[in-house]
Amino acid sequence: MVSLVLLLTLTFGMIHFVPGDPVRSALGLTAPAQLVKQRRAQLGLDKPLWQQYADYVDRAVHGDFGTSITSGEPITEIVRTRLPTTLRLAGLAFLAAVLIGVPLGVLSAALTRDGRRRYGELAFTTATGAFASIPGFLLAVAFIYLFAVKWRFFPVAGESGPKSYVLPIAALAIGPAAALARIVRVEGLKVLDEDYIRTARGKRLPARLIYLRHALPNMLTATLTISGLLLGGLIAGTVLIETIFAWTGLGSTLVNSVTAKDYPSVQAVALIFGAFILLINFVVDMLLAVINPQSTISDQ
């Protein structure tokens, strides 16, 4: 709750931190004074500060983000058409990262437990380490070159049909999947070393039950926390990936608004992304409280 108020205040304040007159700098020096005045009035920048803030919060709560300085279009409309693209991209990439990262991590923990298979362990850490530290936008460039330009398996850019999703999602998901696999493995090794896993072995349960019922739930706490962070990072990643693959999502909107100095649009995107990240944190906290009987909901 505190975070939400902070977020609203900061995004509101953003436009006022801009040095000089934001409308003037957005429209350029040659814009007629009449247009500048009109846009100022449209944005409510001529009202007293406290009233602007009250209006801003009121409108934000009702899902109204004002109008774009440069085009004069309502921002809510822009968001409505472009948000789904971004959510689809981030959501699918997240799904892919979890579906690849978690099983990979569990498997490698199970196989390299107790210092067995040293070379397998080395291969795993090297490969995931490399993939986790190569940024998504470079992977995207490499993928475009290999799979779109050289071998022509997938389209170079654009959003048209399932095939066009493969490269962006792969570029976005591989890094987080590798990072997740590493963390799950370390967490898995820790859990498999616990006394209660020995107890489960002592009960002579089949391996399936030992891993799924006894080990996995105890690995979820860390995995979920990290997944939440990764999902936030994925949303940020869409900004680059959408730009590289020329998708019209919220991320590319952000970039265009920033270069065009369309401050109200930047403000709106900041607010929406921020709200999503707070939502993710909240959901993670709730899930943690559900799966882990010992933790309580934290006040953040």
Binding site: V2, D114, G115, P135, F137, V141, K203, A236, G237, V258
Partner: protein, 645 residues
């Protein structure tokens, strides 16, 4: 002040990754220094005739739209790319660290506000934060640097906050506070030096991230603007032409990965070194296992009574890679209904012996034995499933730490019930019914409610009852209790021991009770094995143990038990010296270095377990040479018997 020092650099060069990372970073720094003066003018020489070329002999990585050589531009761009990244990281650290220390200095309410602002900023992805800030400050290099600094500052703030909080609780800070040292001086003189190392490591890791973020910003057109150029900007230009001349993206892309990887690897290997210094043990070098040569004097008395024994184990040896042999030539027999005790100091191999019996040794351990009959049969003849079912139903284990041994994520009913579900095919409902019954049998109040509890909702004694109930879910023939009362309150200990005794009596199960506490063992057992340095040094019944132990070690162990009549003016009796470790392979009796009766023979020749009289075996060249000394003279024995009874 503590004696913590900065990362020792020579340490770093012992790991190949560290060497490679250091070389990478050094190469980048040298390049950043020398590249612009050497290749600066070549890199900006416009040659329209050679514009937009792919790979040629003159331009191996192609040219840009104005015909400038990409290889040289990539090299020259090193300075700007690295400089901006370093600047952004330093700026971020410079802003973030003081903010993080702030909550410890200002009032509580303001401190809490700052803390929650930091949390919000940390949750926000770096790149987004950088873009927003850059959009306010303005496009270009300045905006990008400030944006990235603002984006990494929260991490430094969070780190310095946690570190300052952890240090603030330390004793020497409290001492400084008592001396009346002011808050600012306290922070500068006492807190910062102790948190400097982790902050430096973070700075190194941040530089790699900043480099990538900067490239990302330039790629988006928010960062460095022409005519200046960095790797990210070059990547953008190349990307527009990837269809025609893909080679032009290779230069900047490779440069970005190389630099980011260099900084990250260096930071990580520094962090790993630091962690290792903080007490993490180096890994054992894997080497072939050397089993100690053993000569057995086989005892006629022990021969061939195959049938009727619950456990008949001969010559058990457990070894780990690297030459550690913590269990050496141990033999145990357990008759039906009998409770056998194993006593010894920690590290004597008691628990590993138990785990070897239960087939629960870690995978690295190698165990060998001459004979291993459990429940009157050779388990290796059974199939995998049959063996699992038999062990799961007939062997119950009670561990030392009931909190760690119960799964925190599953409720009690689930953990009890699954034994019956898996091995006897009971339905979930039937299994729960049986769980309730068993919980009642270990005297847990309102068991119908308790089955829904999680382990953390139970007291220590209750948890150990649950562990015992878990062992009773099947039809146990043997209960192995490994230090079952060590982690419990003294008041609860007696109840748990009573419960174990009752469990044995009511089910007819035999038991092995392992403890370092001779008093605990002598309370429940008739027969006791004394272990020292992985070997059984004496096997005897409890009355003999209390009156006439033959092995000097047993005598010393007994003497260290305080009784009601121990002289409180005198220090508690302890055994001088330390036990030899599992790596020791010297000949002779392992107790010889600590033994008051040790002779030359003891130091050169290993004594084996030999019968002294019926039911009493001892591995000593000079049995009965040391009389236990404790309690008042004359009446000592009876007093000790009282204490142990």
């Amino acid at each position: 002040m503590t004696g913590r020092r900065f990362v020792r650099w020579p340490d770093l060069f012992r790991s190949p990754v560290g060497v490679v990372a250091a070389l990478m970073v050094a190469a980048i720094l040298v390049l950043a220094l020398i590249a612009p003066p050497i290749w600066g003018h070549v890199a900006s020489k416009i040659d329209v005739a050679a514009a937009s070329q792919g790979s040629t002999a003159a331009h191996p990585l192609g040219t840009d739209v104005l015909g400038r050589d990409i290889l040289h531009r990539t090299l020259v761009a090193t300075r700007l790319s690295v400089f901006l990244a370093v600047l952004a990281s330093l700026l971020g650290a410079g802003v973030g660290i003081p903010i993080g220390v702030l909550p410890a200095l200002v009032g509580r309410r303001l401190g809490r506000l700052i803390t929650s602002a930091i949390s919000l900023a940390v949750a926000f992805p770096t790149l987004l934060l950088a873009i927003f800030v850059a959009s306010i400050v303005g496009l270009g290099a300045r905006g990008a640097v400030i944006g990235i600094a603002a984006a990494v500052a929260p991490y430094f703030a969070r780190l310095s906050q946690t570190l300052a909080a952890s240090v603030a609780g330390a004793d020497y800070i409290a001492a400084a506070r008592v001396l009346g040292i002011g808050r600012w001086r306290l922070t500068v003189r006492h807190v910062l030096p102790n948190v400097a190392e982790p902050l430096l490591l973070t700075l190194m890791l941040t530089m790699g991230d900043a480099l990538l973020a900067l490239a990302g910003l330039s790629l988006l057109g928010v960062g460095v603007q022409p005519p200046s150029y960095d790797w990210g900007g070059m990547l953008t230009e190349g990307l527009l032409r990837i269809y025609v001349t893909p080679i032009v993206v290779v230069g900047p892309a490779v440069a970005i990965i190389f630099a980011a990887l260099g900084f990250n690897l260096l930071g990580e290997s520094l962090a790993r070194r630091a962690a290792r210094r903080d007490g993490t043990l180096p890994r054992h070098v894997s080497s072939p296992v050397v089993l100690p040569p053993e000569q057995h004097e086989r005892l006629a008395e022990l021969e061939d009574e195959r049938h009727g024994k619950v456990l008949d184990l001969r010559g058990l040896t457990v070894a780990f890679p690297g030459g550690s042999v913590p269990v050496r030539d141990v033999s145990i027999t357990v008759e039906p209904g009998e409770i056998v005790g194993i006593v010894g100091e920690s590290g004597s191999g008691k628990s590993l012996t138990a785990m070897a019996i239960a087939e629960l040794l870690p995978a690295r351990a190698q165990s060998t034995s001459e004979r291993r009959l459990l429940f009157g049969g050779d388990l290796s003849l059974l199939g995998k499933t049959g063996r699992r079912r038999l062990l799961g139903r007939s062997l119950a284990i009670v561990y030392q730490d009931p909190m760690a041994s119960l799964n925190p994520a599953l409720n009690v009913g689930r953990q009890l019930g699954e034994v019956a579900e898996v091995h006897e095919g009971l339905s979930r409902r039937e299994a729960r019914k049986r769980s309730v019954e068993r919980l009642r049998s270990v005297r847990i109040g309102s068991p119908e409610r308790r089955v829904r509890n999680y382990p953390h909702e139970l007291s220590g004694g209750m948890r150990q009852r649950v562990m015992i109930a878990m062992g009773l879910m099947g039809t146990p023939q043997l209960i192995i209790a490994d230090e079952p009362t060590t982690a419990l309150d003294v008041t609860v200990q007696q109840q748990i021991l009573k419960l174990l005794d009752d469990a044995g009596t009511s089910t007819g199960a035999a038991a092995i009770l392992i403890s370092h506490d001779i008093a605990v063992v002598s309370q429940l057992c008739r027969r006791v094995l004394v272990m020292y340095a992985g070997r059984v040094v004496e096997e005897l019944d409890v009355p003999t143990l209390v009156r006439r132990p033959a092995h000097p070690y047993t005598a010393a162990l007994l003497a260290s038990v305080p009784t009601m009549d121990s002289d409180r003016e005198r220090p508690l009796v302890s055994i001088p010296g330390r036990a030899v470790g599992p790596f020791d392979h010297s000949p002779g009796c392992p107790f010889a270095p600590r033994c008051p009766a040790a002779s030359d023979r003891c130091r050169s020749e290993l004594p084996v377990l030999r019968p002294l009289e019926s039911g009493h075996h001892v591995a000593c060249w000079h049995p009965n040479s040391v009389i236990p000394q404790s309690g008042p003279p004359g009446d000592g024995e009876s007093v000790r018997e009282d204490a142990l009874a």
